[in-house]
């Protein structure tokens, strides 16, 4: 009798083990580790923090408003690509959730940008609006911890509007926020700190 019970137990255990393995098998495959999968500083930039940012000469790609210290047009801080590229530049290879391929992005860490913009200590969030009026809010703490990046180039090229440009938010693979594609806001046009 004991033998039969043992047999049943063994069968059950094996079955459970098999099913458990099956579950793992069916889990979404993990992307291979990119290089660099976390933002890598490629240029410290010429624009120091607290330094006055002059009004942009080129086409304004980003307008920052709200609780910021640095402004260059009224209460707004307007930035063109050149201004952005004067800031500390980082490079990051990340899995693009819409194209489903790895893309090498270059741009500015959003946290760097906000520092340059002189975000006040009391500010807690930042609201981003795209050209198509798409909106995403981030907590400033998340902005800092997730190393999200405002990209200006993809695979070494500037991005036109029909390539999600001219600027877009990307996340490193390690970021948990980045797993939600909805946060990957493209064609960012303005930013309001509150």
């Amino acid at each position: 009798m004991g033998r039969s019970i043992r047999l049943v137990v063994v069968v059950l255990a094996v079955a459970l083990a098999v099913s458990a393995c099956g579950g793992k098998d069916e889990a979404p495959p993990k992307a291979a580790a990119p290089s660099p999968s976390s933002p890598l500083v490629v240029d410290d930039g010429s624009l120091a923090a607290g330094e006055k940012i002059s009004a942009p000469k080129g086409e304004v790609v980003l307008t920052v408003t709200g609780d910021i210290g640095e402004v260059n047009k009224g209460k707004k801080l307007e930035l063109d690509l050149a201004s952005l590229e004067k800031m500390r530049q980082v490079r990051l290879e990340a899995a693009e959730p819409f194209l489903k391929r790895r893309v090498m992005f270059e741009g500015v860490l959003l946290s760097d940008l906000l520092t340059v913009a002189g975000v006040s200590d009391s500010a807690s969030k930042v609201s981003l609006t795209a050209l198509d009026d798409y909106k995403v809010d981030f907590k400033l703490a998340d902005v800092r911890s997730s190393q999200m990046m405002l990209a200006t180039k993809a695979d070494g090229k500037h991005m036109p509007v029909d390539r999600s440009g001219p600027i877009r938010i990307v996340f490193p693979d390690s970021s948990s926020l980045g797993r939600n594609p909805d946060l990957w806001i493209w064609s960012v046009a303005s930013m309001k700190v509150a």
């Binding site: 069968v11 099956g22 069916e26 198509d132 509007v161 029909d162």
Partner: protein
């Protein structure tokens, strides 16, 4: 027990095995189904996510297309080519995202490819408008773009619908597949539950059963062990109780005979305390005559293992009486628990006594206590074997007419008579002699060491005399008479068997010679005996062979000589011995039980003959006929019927038949005889007492019985005229008959004087040779014919009656 262990070790039954197998299969199937379902679910989820993404993107695409359309429509007024280009860029981006999302989706690829010409058209138009921003050009460009953007919107809408439809179709298919597989899964899971439950229940049941069986086995074992212990204990107790309460005395003695142990029962059986006998000399209790035997018994028992045969000897009880004991010895000298002889002794005094009684019964007559035939024969044999001086004699004694006593007074009276006879017999013997009852009314005596025949005869005479002494029975005094036969033998020469036979023969001779006497055996008695036996055989056939004849003797009036009656007398015409008178064969016929048929024959013949004479001599007054009846005949029930039959057959008046009976017949059974005679008398026949005066002296029966006639015995008639006393006797009888108003007939008249004297004494009738001998029928008829005169048969009477005496 081993069996039950085996059962316990046996595993699950076929039901459990089957259930277990089914359960395992079900679980595996369920597992596979669950895996499949899981795969399906995750695939569906992935597809769902993808499609949701795609359709979401499509909505964006659509929105961008519509916004682009608005921008284009507004161009003529706003001239915002830059805004239109931005919208075109945003649409492009959305389409690119869609391309990324819709990888592998043919519909998406086809739709994008189909959109391409229109998009290029719009790009070219917008570029043209930018290059030439005139109103006319703008209007023209807008007009060219309008159908393109319309087609784009339409196509996107189409793709959306197709994607949506495909998604929901796939979803519903997946869902329905999932539904059926889930139903199967639920069903199988239910079965798993049911089978599992059944298996669990059956296992539980089996476990319970096994447990119950194990418990049962265990308890049975315990019970068995207990029972075994009980049995051992009971056996011990029983044994102890057997030993202590046994009616037997159980003793243990050493090989040399010393007593080590006596059971408690010695107190009961022999009256001694067990302690006081131990270590004593056991032989001191044994009867001195048996001591040597007991010693030998113990010595032999000590030599041989096993149990001896039972021996009996006498042991003294404490009260001094001797008991017969029976002892069995078991040699247990080798048994370490005993190391002795176990003697089992029991009191068999009762049995010994019973044995002695049985032996006595086997050799003695129960009624009289005398030796029986077996013992007597043995004694005779013993006496003959003994070499001694003198002869020995055997007396055979048969009581005469004992059957009469037995029949008339009853068996109890008969037994009393036998006991009295035995006692008297024993009384006249010496201690060394043996008296025996051989059976019925036969006795025997063995006389040892008799000197001569005279001495033997003296003993025989003394025996008869002793028996003769009157014996009181039921208020009557009866003499015991016997016939006695004596035979003598000489030790060493004669055979016991022959001696006994000789005595028997002599006894028969005495009986045949008239009873109430003894006869010494003579060799010729054998011859007589044989003749007698022969005669018996012949008598049986006498009637059949017409050897019996009737003779008739006239009875006459003494004065006139007139024949008034005739007495029928039976004769046997024996082929070699000639004519035999009744005494020569009637007693024999009575003994042999032949008297009935013979008597009936005589009765009938006599009646028929009387009838014939009546017919032959119609002028004479009819003759009466006398027929003799024996005692045996009177005892027989059918006698009355036979008389009636004879009278009817002969058409004879009962008044003409006279039945004669002897006095001795009347004494046997007064009541029965009296009744029988009254019956006969009732028929109208006459009754006469034959041979009156020779029998018993009691005359009271004359008043009691309905008698008509006395026939005076010849003995009295003979004496008439010879002396005064004899004449006086005859006279007295005649006077008696007158007093009782009985008819007197004198018998045996041989002389004319006798007839004359009888007439003088008052006797009217008589018979005898003087008038006529008994005559054969023919002669009698002739006589009647010759004497017929004056209306009667008159015999010539020689002398005239003495006139002087009559008066």
């Amino acid at each position: 027990m081993a069996d039950q262990h085996l059962v316990l070790r046996r595993r699950r039954g076929p039901l459990q095995t089957a259930l277990g197998g089914v359960l395992v299969v079900l679980i595996l199937v369920v597992e596979v189904l669950i895996l499949q379902a899981y795969v399906n679910v995750s695939r569906s989820t992935a597809i769902f996510g993808q499609v949701t993404f795609l359709t979401g993107n499509l909505v964006n695409v659509q929105r961008e297309a519509l916004l682009l359309n608005v921008k284009i429509e507004e161009l003529p007024t706003t001239r915002d080519l830059r805004g239109a280009q931005l919208r075109r860029g945003l649409l492009g981006n959305q389409l690119r995202v869609m391309e990324g999302l819709g990888q592998g989706d043919a519909r998406v690829a086809d739709a994008l490819e189909a959109l391409d010409p229109d998009l290029q058209l719009i790009d070219r138009a917008l570029a043209s408008g930018k290059a030439n921003p005139t109103r006319a050009n703008l209007d023209r460009q807008v007009a060219s773009m309008r159908p393109a953007i319309g087609r784009i919107i339409f196509r996107i809408k189409d793709l959306y619908d197709a994607e949506e439809q495909g998604f929901f179709g796939a979803l519903s298919g997946t869902l329905s597949a999932r539904n059926s597989s889930e139903r199967l899964l639920v069903g199988l899971s239910g079965m798993v539950l049911v089978v599992g439950l059944a298996l669990a229940l059956s296992l539980r049941q089996r476990v319970r059963k096994d447990f119950a069986r194990a418990y049962q086995t265990l308890t049975a074992e315990v019970e068995e062990r207990k029972a075994a212990e009980r049995a051992v204990r009971a056996s011990e107790e029983r044994f102890r109780s057997l030993v202590q309460n046994s009616s037997d005395v159980i003793s243990i003695v050493d090989a040399d005979g010393g007593v080590r142990y006596h059971s408690e029962s010695v107190r009961r059986v022999l009256g001694y305390d067990p302690g006081e006998l131990v270590d004593g000399d056991p032989l001191s209790l044994v009867h001195p005559d048996d001591r040597e035997r007991v010693g030998r018994f113990v010595a032999e028992a000590a030599l041989r293992p096993g149990v001896t045969a039972a021996e009996t000897w006498r042991i003294r009880h404490r009260d001094g009486t001797w008991l017969h004991s029976e002892t069995v010895a078991a040699n247990l000298l080798e048994d370490p628990n005993v190391r002795g002889l176990v003697l089992n002794t029991r009191d068999v005094s009762d049995r010994k006594e019973l044995e002695a009684q049985l032996v006595h019964q086997a050799f003695h007559d129960g009624l009289t206590g005398l030796a029986n035939r077996t013992l007597f024969a043995e004694r005779v044999e013993h006496a003959l074997a003994r070499s001694g001086k003198g002869e020995l004699a055997v007396l055979f004694i048969d009581l005469d007419d004992f059957k009469h006593v037995n029949d008339s007074l009853g068996h109890a009276a008969g037994d009393q008579l036998l006991v009295a006879a035995a006692r008297r017999l024993q009384g006249c013997l010496r201690p060394a002699d043996t008296a025996a009852r051989l059976g019925g009314d036969e006795f025997a005596v063995l006389l040892e060491r008799v000197t001569d025949a005279e001495a033997t005869a003296a003993v025989a005479g003394r025996v008869l005399d002793t028996l003769h002494r009157p014996f009181g029975l039921n208020g009557r005094t009866i003499p015991i008479k016997a016939s006695l036969g004596v035979a003598t033998g000489r030790p060493g020469t004669d055979e016991a068997e022959e001696l006994l036979r000789n005595a028997d023969v002599a006894m028969y001779a005495a009986k045949a010679g008239g009873k109430d006497r003894y006869e010494l055996f003579r060799p010729d008695m054998h011859e007589d005996m044989l003749q007698r036996l022969e005669l018996e055989t012949e008598l049986r056939h006498a009637a059949d062979r017409d050897q019996l004849v009737l003779h008739y003797q006239p009875i006459v009036e003494l004065v006139s000589g007139r024949i008034t009656r005739v007495e029928a007398l039976v004769r046997w015409e024996h082929p070699t011995k000639g004519l035999l008178p009744p005494p020569a064969f009637i007693p024999l016929a009575e003994e042999q039980g032949l008297i009935g048929p013979i008597g009936n024959w005589v009765l009938l013949q006599a009646c028929l003959q009387a009838r014939r004479w009546q017919d032959q001599f119609p002028d004479a007054p009819p003759l009466s006929v006398h027929v003799n009846l024996s005692g045996r005949q009177l005892e027989e029930q059918q006698l009355v019927g036979e008389v009636v039959q004879a009278l009817e057959t002969a058409r004879l008046s009962p008044r003409l038949l006279t039945l004669e009976i002897t006095e001795s017949v009347l004494v046997s059974d007064i009541e029965a005889m009296s009744a029988r005679l009254r019956e006969l008398k009732g028929l109208g026949v006459l009754l006469a007492i034959d041979d009156f005066g020779t029998g018993y002296s009691s005359l009271s029966y004359l008043r009691r019985f309905p008698i008509d006639m006395l026939k005076i015995d010849k003995a009295f008639v003979d004496g008439i005229g010879r002396g005064r006393e004899d004449t006086a006797l005859a006279h007295a009888i005649i006077k008696l008959s007158h007093t009782l108003q009985l008819h007197a007939v004198a018998e045996g008249i041989e002389e004319p004087e006798q007839a004359t004297n009888l007439v003088t004494l008052g006797c009217r009738d008589g018979q005898g040779f003087y008038f006529s001998r008994p005559l054969p029928t023919a002669a009698m008829t002739e006589l009647l014919g010759k004497t017929l005169a004056d209306g009667g048969f008159y015999l010539p009477v020689a002398a005239e009656p003495l006139e002087s005496l009559s008066g």
